[in-house]
Symmetry: none
Subunit: 85 residues, 2 copies
DNA sequence: TAAGATTTGTTCGTATGTATA
DNA sequence: ATATACATACGAACAAATCTT
C-alpha cells in the first residue's frame, strides 16, 4: 500500500505516480496500464480519485482509453509536453 | 454562463431556476433533468451547491433521483404545493 | 446465440476540510 | 458560531463496450 502526502491532493499524487511509471518505462509504450479496479486495490484510493488522475493523463496525451477494453500508453510522438503546471 | 444575484444565496437561485424550468415545461414530466456535473458546468457553481438545490426539489416532490442513473421530473400529481418558504 | 465477467464511463449519495461573510 | 460555497475524497449503482465461455 502506497502512502500519500497529507498536504497535497491524493489525485494529484496518483497522477504523478502513474506519469512517472509511464515516463520511466514501467508501463511500456503502446502497452496497457492496470485497470481502474486494480489501481484502486493497489493504491488504496477510490475509483473517482483514480479516474481524476487518469483523465488528466488522457488530457496530457500520455494514455488512451478504449471503452470496454482497457487503457494504453500512447506512442511518445503523441505526448504533449506540458511545461506549466 | 448564468449570473447570480449577489445578495441572495446561490443555491436558492439555482433552486428557483430549476423549479421554473420544471414548472415551465422545459424539463418535461417524467423526463430527465441534466446531471449534476452538467449543471455544474452550465451554471458554474460547485457540486454541493447544485445538490442543495436538488435536495430541496426532492423535498418538494418535484423530482426523483435514482442512484447511478439520473434524476427525473416527478408526475405532477406527486408535486407538493409548498406555500411557506 | 446467449450468458457472464471485465473494463471504461457516468451518475447519485455522503462526508470532510477550507475559506469567507 | 452559523451559513454559504468551493474542493476533495469516498462509496454505491447503473450503463455500454469488449471479450470469453
Amino acid at each position: 500500500m502506497i502512502e500519500f502526502d497529507e498536504d497535497r491532493t491524493v489525485w494529484e499524487q496518483v497522477y504523478e505516480l502513474l506519469r512517472s511509471r509511464i515516463e520511466g518505462g514501467q508501463y511500456k509504450e503502446r502497452g496497457p496500464i492496470p485497470s481502474t479496479p486494480r489501481l484502486v486495490q493497489e493504491l488504496g484510493v477510490a475509483q473517482n480519485t483514480i479516474r481524476k488522475a487518469i483523465n488528466r493523463l488522457k488530457a496530457d496525451g500520455l494514455i488512451r482509453a478504449i471503452n470496454g477494453k482497457g487503457t494504453y500508453v500512447a506512442p511518445r510522438e503523441a505526448w504533449f509536453r506540458n511545461k506549466g503546471e
